[in-house]
Structures are given as structure tokens and as C-alpha cells.
Assembly symmetry: C2
Homo-oligomer: 376 residues x 2
């Protein structure tokens, strides 16, 4: 893993602060919690997730996803974080390396001060939401480990309140769809990517194999509100339970009309990214899809969930293709969501971590401190 240069300098110079020269203490000889406290030590490593299946959206397809694996070390504890960067969101190994290299976390000697640290991180550059999330996740993992509790417990949630997670069936040929649905036999809800000209065919194909509840993600693929409403009624008859981002995010009035008339909840995805976007979805959508990689991490995601609930909106928590690191972090919040789409780690063949498990279709949290993961 690369080490932040400024962090290295800080760590070697802190011993002469205030003119005092203290004896250099080897970290391995230091008891946890003993002084002097050093700053946070950030390191990161570019990594490529290998997808088990080529992944097809309404507008693109790919077989790998670039991520950054991040570590923050402090006082003998290590917190893990991750930035997942599907290319269509504009981040890459290059942008994340630049963003993370520019951070000086060694100035912070208390990882609990997340408001201050994440405020600083957010202020260093616009966008870079996934890279920012990697720091947020690592800080949560770190502080949770210091407190020796998983975050779902620290937040006061009950582990068994987690929802089932959906498993995503991408756009594909009929034969491949049937294969995928059969593979997904353990899941209690399937997420179907629609928004092309074969939507009904996709659903009919899936319904020829399974009766499991479905949700559908249109990825802004529908352009006409009346056709959209007809489709939502048709989908309800087929056992679909909600519809995600049916029309382009710019079609606000049309979406509000659809939400008002539709027999299923209409969930915002592309229409929002961060906390400040939530208010604009009130009265337009029935709920929001919260994703750590779009909203800069757990701290902001948690506020988005509470704000949506205060507006009587539904909440789902989603993910990108991610390792068990980011997925397990999101899973900590899932007891407070109506639906979860946390299958990102199941889509890859080279996960460096173990964490939350999907057992009998349900998100199953362990009792490990922090975000609940271990390195394999």
C-alpha cells in the first residue's frame, strides 16, 4: 500500500513538538491507548474487482470495476474503507489517487472527530464522492473497533431488523436471464434492470421461472409518463413491489404525477446523490435509494435516511459492485431501511474481505466491531 508522504513526515516530526525531544518509541512496544498520540495514518491501494458476469445497464456494460482499498491506522487499531468507482460516475483509480494523496489526515489526533475530519475531507475538492466515502467508512471501522462495538449497535438498531437484499438480474438474452434467476434461488426478492424495449419480455421470462417478489430499476429509461403509469400497473400485476427511477431525473413534474397515480412506490436513484438533494425529492418520489459511494459515506447516508423518514418517505440502501468492505458498512444502516440492494460483493470473484452474509435472502449482520469485516 502507498503511504501518504506528508503523513510520514508528520509521524516522524511529532516527537519534537514544542522543542521537547522525546525518545522514539517503537509502535510494537507501545501499549494500546498509551501516549503520545500520533495523527491518523492513511494508506490506499488501487484494486480491480473481477465481475462474475458481464454487467449490463440501460446505457453500458463492463466486466471489471476499479476500487480503492483504504486503511486508516491509529493507536494500534486499523480501520478499512473502500471507494468503488464504476466508470459512469466519473471517478477512477487516477482521480481517487489524486484526491487521497492530497489529504493530510496526520493533522488529526482523534479519529472520533468525524464532523471535523469529514468536513475537511469534503472541503478539499468537489465531487470525488466515492473517495470521500472510503475515508468515512475507514473512520467508522476504526472508531467502532476502538469502542469494540459494531455500528448498527452504536446507532441503537437491532440486527434482526435487516431487510432481505435483492439480487440484480441484468439486461441479457432470455437464456442467460433464466440461468441467472435459477442461480439466485436463495433470494427473497430480485431486482430487474429494465428500461429498454423488451421490458415485458424480461418480466415474463423471469415469471416463467420464479414467483419471488420483484423490484425493477428503469435507470431513467422511460420517457412518457402515461406509458410509464400503464407499465407500473402491469408490473404490479406481475408481483413487482417498487419501481426505481422510472424516468429521467429532469422530468420532475412527470415523475411527481406518476408517483401520485402509481399503485407502487416510485424510488429516486439518479435523481439524488447527497443530503442536500433529499428535499428536492419530497413530493416527487415515494422514497430514495441511498448509496454510500454517491453520498460520501455512512455519516451522510444516516442523515439522509432520517430526513427521508421525517418526510414519510421510503428508503432503500443500494451499492455498486463493491467488496464486502463497503457492502458490510452499508449493511450496518440497513435495519433502518425498507429495502436493500446489497449484492455488490456477491457479483465479484476476488473479494479480499468477509463481512455481512446473505442468509436465506436476508442481510445477516455479525457482531464484529466497526463495520463488521475481516481480511481474508
Amino acid at each position: 500500500m502507498g503511504t501518504n508522504r506528508r503523513s510520514f513526515i508528520r509521524n516522524t516530526t511529532i516527537f519534537t513538538l514544542g522543542g521537547m525531544v522525546l525518545p522514539q518509541i517503537s509502535k510494537s512496544n507501545m501499549k494500546r491507548g498509551s501516549l503520545p498520540k500520533q495523527g491518523l495514518k492513511l494508506s490506499f491501494e488501487p484494486y480491480s474487482l473481477q465481475l462474475k458476469h458481464v454487467f449490463t445497464l440501460a446505457t453500458s456494460s463492463r466486466s471489471t470495476t476499479p476500487v480503492m482499498l483504504v486503511k486508516i491506522e491509529y493507536d494500534g487499531f486499523t480501520g478499512y474503507g473502500e471507494a468503488s468507482m464504476p466508470p459512469y460516475l466519473g471517478e477512477s483509480h487516477k482521480t481517487a489517487t489524486k484526491f487521497l494523496s492530497n489529504l493530510d489526515l496526520s493533522q488529526f489526533t482523534d479519529p472520533f472527530r468525524m464532523d471535523e475530519i469529514l468536513g475537511y475531507v469534503d472541503s478539499t475538492a468537489p465531487k470525488n464522492a466515492a473517495a470521500k466515502a472510503s475515508i468515512d467508512i475507514a473512520l467508522h471501522d476504526l472508531t467502532g473497533k476502538i469502542m469494540n462495538q459494531p455500528w448498527h449497535k452504536i446507532w441503537g438498531y437491532s440486527a434482526e431488523e435487516t431487510p432481505n437484499t435483492s439480487f440484480t438480474i441484468g439486461i441479457a438474452q432470455k437464456k442467460e436471464v433464466i440461468e441467472k434467476v435459477k442461480e439466485a434461488a436463495g433470494f427473497k426478492i430480485l431486482k430487474v434492470k429494465l428500461g429498454r424495449d423488451n421490458d415485458k419480455e424480461m418480466i415474463e421470462t423471469i415469471r416463467s421461472v420464479t414467483d419471488v417478489p420483484l423490484c425493477v430499476d428503469i435507470n431513467q429509461g422511460w420517457k412518457d409518463k402515461k406509458q410509464a403509469l400503464d407499465m407500473v400497473f402491469w408490473l404490479k400485476d406481475k408481483g413487482v413491489v417498487f419501481v426505481e427511477q422510472p424516468m429521467p431525473k429532469t422530468m420532475i413534474d412527470e415523475t411527481a404525477w406518476l408517483t401520485q397515480n402509481a399503485p407502487l412506490p416510485i424510488i429516486a436513484d439518479e435523481a439524488l446523490q447527497r443530503l442536500t438533494d433529499v428535499q428536492s425529492t419530497v413530493g416527487v418520489y415515494s422514497g430514495i435509494n441511498v448509496k454510500l459511494m454517491k453520498c460520501t459515506g455512512l455519516r451522510e447516508a444516516h442523515k439522509m435516511i432520517n430526513l427521508a423518514h421525517a418526510n414519510n418517505m421510503k428508503v432503500m440502501i443500494g451499492c455498486m459492485t463493491e467488496t464486502s468492505c463497503a457492502v458490510s458498512a452499508a449493511a450496518q444502516l440497513s435495519p433502518k431501511t425498507d429495502w436493500a440492494d446489497l449484492d455488490g460483493n456477491l457479483l465479484i470473484s476476488n473479494d479480499p474481505y468477509t463481512g455481512m452474509k446473505v442468509i436465506d435472502g436476508k442481510i445477516t449482520l455479525n457482531n464484529l466491531p466497526g463495520i463488521g469485516i475481516k481480511k481474508i
Copy 2:
């Protein structure tokens, strides 16, 4: 302290659950964290706070405040909580005793499950907000102690971000007002109770002794929006920084008009109690006063603060006359507020706890775990 009868029964019967008879283990011989885990043990004690000065509001005056001192014990840890019940809010030793006696917290074997526990507590009876807050505060103290961190740190806030606290100057005769203001010399902001026919005289009297910034609490005392606006302009000239609850909470349109035209922030107090009331203040007031005893405790207060901020509203955190227990709990949230009125413990002569201190007018948090208090 009284002990909950059902709690006692549960604690003695838990050892025979599932038909297995386990040997009775003396608590004092058990190592912290060792099994079997027992349920939460609640106890409480009625207590009367002695006020240093007779306290005069627009509508009443009194020299004592009834409170309940609450303890929740679990696994060798003790969490302290408090219900403060000024009579005009409708709770009393009698109502709180009834409410708390009716709770069965022994059914919960994990104090971290606050959503579940506080959901249960809230559901057992309507109202009783202060009694509910006493449980919320004790659970926060308990879990913070288990994690060995103060809640302002667990929430990610920075201790030095606390505001100055105001000190309240009640309605009184001129001579007494001057004495009180002189006593309050260490405070950087004073809160003046107005809403009678001598408002200007009160302010002039205080201004004859000090130039310190003032805030004013009208307690719904003004009835005419144009006179109210004139007064707000006059008060601004006198160095007042905000106005609390100027008109009756039912005068919604008039208050919205005042807020829109006033040169100072207009803060809701009597107009709201709980999280579900916050939305009704948006567009009517510039901010809200959050009080643990009205909103059932820290968990809901925290959500109210975040919801107000999401609506670009100001937040102040207030209190009743309270011991250092409830005041120190509220102080944990104060780094996220614009103003604080946490002088309740300074108004009493028989505080059984030490906790947060007011140093040079500023709320000063210690690093004790939980809500940051010790029994004297």
C-alpha cells in the same frame, strides 16, 4: 431507590428459561461482560430541586422543581437519567412513578437496542415526555460507559465547538434584576424573560449594568404582530441576538409574517415538542428550541437537530431546572447547536451530580464516558 417489581421477578426467573436450571451466580462474583446476561434493571427516586431564587415566568412562579432520579444497571455498569417536571408541563412525581413502575425493562438484555427499547417505552403511554427522557438519558449514559466514550465523541462532534450558554434573568423588580445580572457576570449571553407590560423597562435596567449580548424569551406573551415587529427592531438596537416564542403558538400566520420581516431570528419553543412537530415550524420560525424533557430525550433531540439543519433552521438547546445529569446529557449535543440555554443546574442548591461546567461562559465538556457525570 425503589426497584421495579417485575424486574425483580424476571431477574430471578431468567435462570430457569428453556427448562434448564443454571446455578445462581452472585453479581459481585461475576466479571464484567461474562455470561449469562441479565435484563436491564431500572430503579428511580423522586427528588425535589431547591431553587436558589424564586423563578418567575410570564404565567407562574415557584421555588422547587420535582424531578425523578433514574438508574439503569446492566452487567456491572450504571447509567444515570433524570426527569425534570416543572408543574406547567403536566408531569409530577405521581405521574412519573406510575409511568416508570409500569415499565418492564428486564425484558431487554442488550441496552444498545435503543430503537427497540425506547420505542417500547414511548408506546406504553402517551405524553410523559420527561419520564421517557429519563430512560433515554440513562441508556445513553449506560451504553457510553460500556463503550468508554462520551456521547459527543461517539456522535463525532468536537468538544470545543460548544456554544456559550445563556443565563436566565427571570421577571423581577428592578433591584433584584440588577443583582441577578451582577451575579451573572461570567456569562457571555443573558436570556431575559419578557412578555409582560414592562419589557422595555427590563431591558433598559439590564443595559444599565451590562453590555453583554442578550436573547429574550417572550413565552407567547405578545399578541399583536405589528407591535411585536416594532419590539424586535427596538430589541435589536439594544443588542438582542434572537427572540424566543414571541406570540402564542396558535398564531401561526402572524408568526410567519413576523419571522419574514424581523431583523432577528425568531425561535420556536412552546410551538413544538417532538420530532413530528418540527416540520410545522418550517417557514414559520427561523429556528427551534430543543429540550430533552419535552422531546423524550437525546435520541429524538438529535434527530430534531438534524432535521432543523436540513431545513436551514437555527437550533438552540434548552433545559428546565435540572440537575447536572440532564444538563450534561443535553450538553453532549450542544456542539451542533447555535445557542444553548443550559443553566438549569446552576439555579439549584442541591445538585447530586457534577458534570459539564460553564467556564468563562462556555459549555465545557469533560471526557467522562456516557453523559459525562459523577455522583457527588
